[in-house]
Symmetry: C2
Subunit: 193 residues, 2 copies
């Protein structure tokens, strides 16, 4: 696991604190042995009535489907994702498997699975970088995603490279981000802005 300079308000699990979203990747492919533990981690997330809304559509570089997933990205993400090992489109199912109930928390639950995936990657020293900068409608069409599923986000997974391998403007952004103070995200008893 990589360590960052982040300072927590109170001590927490190091993988959670130090997980961040680099962009510099080596352009190497990932083996199934390297990739599957990330999906496996996603698999164990909690969900409404254990409905497990999450689905991961992935493409490895140097395979026929790589260009399809890569083609969904906005130009700003194509610049650095060209060196990813794997691209993933994360999707959630909006209804239960018996088709009888809507899953109110389908996106929220998929987000829990996504965080597991990202944490497992961070633990292994891999780059895992989430993205909303892609064409959601095109993703739905090109990947044949049925109406009862919702496209949530994409992520790039790869082997970490030195930040000097990035274009200059992206080098400046290659640093773990900070967060709002804890006091701004917790509220006792009632909502307060």
């Amino acid at each position: 696991m990589l360590k960052t300079q982040r300072k927590p308000t109170v001590p927490i699990e190091p993988i959670i604190l130090h997980r961040w979203s680099p962009r510099a990747m080596t352009g190497e492919a990932l083996s199934d042995e390297e990739l599957m533990p990330l999906f496996e981690a996603g698999r164990w997330a909690p969900s409404f009535a254990n409905s497990q809304s999450w689905r991961f559509i992935y493409a490895k570089r140097d395979t026929p489907s790589w260009s399809t997933l890569f083609g969904l990205l906005v130009d700003g993400n194509k610049r650095w994702c060209a060196n990813a090992g794997v691209l993933v489109v994360m999707v959630s199912k909006k209804i239960t498997d018996d088709g009888k109930r809507n899953i109110t928390t389908h996106s929220f639950d998929a987000g829990a699975a996504w965080e597991n995936l990202a944490l497992e990657g961070a633990k292994r020293g891999l780059v895992v970088h989430g993205m909303a900068g892609f064409d959601y409608d095109l993703a739905k069409r090109e990947l044949g995603v049925p109406a009862e599923y919702q496209i949530e986000a994409m992520c790039a997974i790869g082997k970490l490279a030195k930040k000097e391998t990035l274009p200059e403007d992206l080098q400046a952004r290659e640093v773990p981000s900070d967060r709002k103070p804890l006091s701004e995200i917790i509220m006792e008893g009632t909502f307060r802005q």
Copy 2:
């Protein structure tokens, strides 16, 4: 951290594998020292443009706001949540702080923060149990949640008790749940059911 009998497809981070959602809690209160690390873990989740949509409205037992949050729950959850130490309503902000952009991933990102919270609790041997079984509309009204925020889910946090302290029907359910096979949640190249 508690260990479960769960068998992963491939080895992963133990906290992720063994986190589960017990119901048996002792009815003890939690101190800030015990509670705050869970919110702190949520704080470090990744989000769209670091927008950090997540907010946590909480009530500790034996405080005036406890009855407000407890009153939101469906009867089936009241039965065992009566022994929680803390109840939390998890909320996401749908627009950026400058009010200029919708956050497409506000629920998904809040789910990532929720998983961090749950994992930090699991690591500390606490019960953290997510719930959709509560009155979402009433929560919005009673807690004064503004229109630009969305209620996502609730969770109960508490100290683990023996399962024998639960009503008999809940004792039978007090076991870590399994998951769909990995092959059902990952798809290479294109969507496949």
